[in-house]
Amino acid sequence: MSANRLREGEGALRRDRTLSFTFDGKRYTGHPGDTLASALLASGVRLVGRSFKYHRPRGILTVGSEEPNALVELRTGARREPNTRATGVELFDGLEARSQNRWPSLRFDLGAINSLFSALLVAGFYYKTFMWPAAFWEKVYEPAIRRAAGLGRASLEPDPDGYEKAHAFCDLLVVGGGPAGLAAALTAGRAGARVILCDEDFLLGGRLNGDRHEIDGEDGALWARQTAEELAALPEVRIMTRTTVFGAYDGNTFGALERVADHLPMPAAHQVRQRFWKIVARRTVLAAGALERPIVFGGNDCPGVMLASAVRTYVNRFRVTPGRRTAVFTSCDDGWKTAFDLVDSNVEVPVLVDARREVPAELEGQASRRGLRVVLGAQILDAHGSKGVRGIDVRDDRGRTSRIATDALAVAGGWNPNTALSAHLGGRPRWSDTLAAHVPADLPPGMIAVGAAAGELSLAGALRTGAAAGRQAASAAGFEAAADSPPRVADEAAGGTPLWFVQGFRGKAFIDFQHDVTTKDVAIAAREGFHCPELLKRYTTLGMGTDQGKTSALNAHAIVAALTGRSPADLGAIAARPPYTPVAIGALAGAHRGPHFRPCRLTPSHRWAESRGATFVDLGEWRRAKAFPLSGETDWKRTLTREVRSVRDGVGVCDVSTLGKIDVQGADAGTFLDRVYANMISSLPVGKTRYGIMLREDGMVFDDGTVARLSPSHFLLSTTSAHAVKVLQHLEHARQVLWPDLDVQLASVTEQWAQFAVAGPRSRALLERLLEGVADVSNAGFPYLACAELQWQGRPARLFRISFSGELAYELAVPARRGEAALHAIMGTGEDLGVVPYGMEALGTMRIEKGHVAGAELNGTTTAHDLGLGRMMSARKDYIGRVLAGRPGLSAPDRPALIGVKPSRPDARLTAGAHFLRLGAPPSLENDEGFISSATFSPTLGHWIGLGFLRGGQRRIGERVRAHDPLSSGDVEVEIASPIFYDPEGNRLRA
């Protein structure tokens, strides 16, 4: 039997089973129903961690998610979880936990030496020193501070567990499964409403499990269990335990984290570790309860000093006492319950100290019936003990101080309603003088606060307000709840007078336990003018720990208020921000990680390309064949050269299905396209294709592509692969917002068609065979820029005489399902013509040889003039971008314009990103004349070539300049050339 486990009573444990776990390598045992914290307490472990700054010994303060002290590293290896609250960890067999932020060991921590300098390490000390000598900060001080940073250690390995997201919708979301929440869910659930009830605990009931209550004459915990069973049986009610609603967002949307497998050694196959829920709720009931606050006195951080309600829960639910002798220090009625429960569980209570001079007679009666020693109007000044409480100094109402031996101390400073979720949308809680705490005010639309969260501290109040809110939510969703009479409960004393801090203590009095913020730090901050809550927080780091000040913020405000002669009400509440409790980054990412981070779009020929041993490249969402190396081609240059030469001398085929295809129809289609393209489209004859550019409203070039006219009222646009979606959005904007009166219909047909470029002098020969009897592809019958709709192999098909490579070329489009088949047909038909597949590398190289602009040139900051396309801007019509393109800054003659470059030394390599400098000009921004946007080795010309933008543009053809690239490959002298390196007259593509 472990040290502090009470002998009798089950509580919420299953004593018939024993679980074993280790803490700092030492083996302990507990039972199902234990948390790591309760099991450690049961085993007599009081020292569980060290504080952040002074490395002070720390124990367990609370029983819930507000715990500031008891943080451990849970699990090992890739599953190591730093800063895990022992109070929230459900015990499982084989659990491994380690203490943090101590070296070499928890009991003997060298970091504790900081305590010796505590006089120096006060609020703001960083900012006042480490400044001289200047060099030391970077090299000595700062690295040292960073080494000292942090509490637990994250794993360096990828998280092996899975996560997922889920969406839920309900009439009523109940946050918190205590008496108020259960009453709300039950009322609405019975009425037939869709209810979701979330509680971060693995056991519903809240304080009903921690306190001793009677509801309708039976044990409160039992009532909770029975209510949970009834709820579970209701078809439209979903109970989510181990689930924290961590944030409220706009549109009645809530974020919740379900800990699916954290109570298991590891998730089962196909089971996630955690699930991130996005819950949309018509109504929300905030039944998150209240958090008890500590009292600030000397040595109040000593292990063994705990919140009174926590002690009560450990005793009643977990059958554990924090110490064989446990004193109580309170300023409210609630604290007395702890003393009573301890005594009734045969734990010695050396003294109950109540700061109030007068208390309800009923309490005194119960105390004397139990023979409890009570001191009224007294205060505890200091707690003593190095690694655990051994004694307390009590000053009575006559100022006499006496030391009383005890090995634990339960502290009850009153209750703070848990208002967090009510304030996530910017609402600020209101100060209540009766409670001496903030209560929810100005709540998000549709949210109702009930029970302790609303300041209703009595059980009767919780049940009453909960049921009422449940009824209200049900009727809002169209369900009428039966007017059940509320369960019978005894009314209880819940009064108190706040005692924020005692005076005349000797030791350090802590406000924020985790960050070691003491009364002295707060005093300094106030003295230096940092007394507004936000500044106080930032200057002292108060409330910035993993507990986000749940147990410290209000005490700090009360102390500052006292120091500056104000009331805590004047300071207001610190803005609450999501998440309510820390949420794993992995959970919020869900399944979108690794290769599944974003979807991957595959071309119709993907499998075929794989079978041909292609290499692939990711271009945005698309994955495209980069090249088709033959066995033995180890060097990318050899493959590139072969693919380009094969196209230039023979014929090649390339999957260009990724280009956006937009179908435009309607009587006004021509007019519409004239307005969105800079060049004239309406004059395009049926059966013809035209190159077009679109400008943004600000006059910059947006996208380029071809426009084919299939009938007087039917056009087919092609866009760049990258802009396909943006262009459709742009056109829909023009159609729906700018010119809703035009008769135009738009549809994306990108996915419908597989499209293959068949390019090279022998492409005609290939297509003559392939389309025999289907289309006349002769130069006369199907000249450059012709287009036609065909019926091929019993399917619709489309043929275009367009060329990106600069060769005689066609593009054949077939229904996407037919893509692979068509490719096989092309390859089969062209076998003896030497047809080869070519990839993005060759495509990109040939477009640079031909001087076609692409993404690197269409970078959103280039005008049509910059790109050498100025002549395309029609003067005969109005179109998007026309007016602003005329701004002086966009038409200035000194703007860098498109040119070609080739190295003066034929063997020299060019890099995109190099900047142009005049020969001999020193490198400086003033001398920067432009840059290389695209560069490639040209197999056709046998040397590197590039496109770029240069001040003066093509006026400078023939001039030699320096391509300055200190970053990667150094400087190269280049000659300015026409951007069209290959067949400038365009004879080949017209052949």
Binding site: P599, Q745, H824
Partner: protein, 213 residues
């Protein structure tokens, strides 16, 4: 070399396992051979379009995100004066035949090859889709015949619900762009894995899911 392979929506799908996890919580089957036409009425011509469509197929084009079907033909509203019409086994010929009929009052685009269409059923299909789709699929909120255009992860999809099966399992059909077929199936099988995901070869006609008698 095989020169005449049959039509394939997404060749890469063949690389996927046909079952993930244990059980048959979600059963997916790819719908094939469907003729799909996107119909957008010309300005002020939607009434005329509806009239012609009714005359030809005896079906009223819904002016809401709903789907109506009769025999092999179905039509669903996907936007203002815009519909998606389908016809069993018709392939590309459906849109081709529809084009001339509606020519003067609507733009018709063949979409028969543009999408992967998965029919999803099984006892846990709702729980699985809830992990992927931000739309309320509670039977009271999303009824048989309802349609939603929404996102699944980062994939645009169209989703509609058919009549439940004889085992009263819900039946949905999910549409996504062909190029995204692999990613979509991975997402669905991943979401359904804990309940057991099974992929079957293609189904019969559209309403095979409907209760008989």
């Amino acid at each position: 070399m095989r020169t005449e392979p049959t039509d394939i929506t997404c060749p890469a799908l063949t690389s996927l396992p046909t079952a993930v996890g244990n059980g048959r919580g979600v059963i997916a089957t790819e719908r094939e051979g469907l003729g799909i036409a996107r119909i957008a009425a010309r300005k002020g011509q939607s009434a005329r379009m509806a009239e012609l469509f009714r005359a030809r197929f005896g079906l009223e084009p819904p002016n809401a995100p709903r789907r109506a079907s009769r025999g092999d033909v179905a039509i669903a509203g996907i936007g203002p004066q815009t519909w998606l019409a389908t016809c069993e086994h018709a392939g590309n010929t459906f849109a081709q035949s529809l084009g001339p009929v509606l020519a003067d009052c609507a733009a018709v685009c063949d979409q028969s090859d543009a999408c992967l269409i998965l029919r999803l059923t099984g006892p846990r299909v709702r729980a699985s889709l809830a992990k992927l789709i931000p739309v309320d699929m509670h039977p009271r909120s999303f009824r048989a015949g309802d349609l939603a255009q929404t996102v699944c992860g980062y994939i645009n999809i169209t989703l509609w619900r058919l009549e439940d099966t004889v085992q009263s399992d819900p039946v949905f059909e999910v549409w996504a762009g062909r190029s995204l077929a692999l990613s979509l199936q991975q997402a669905i099988s991943h979401a359904a894995a804990e309940f057991g995901f099974v992929r079957q070869s293609s189904t019969g006609p559209a309403d095979a899911g409907r209760r008989t008698g």
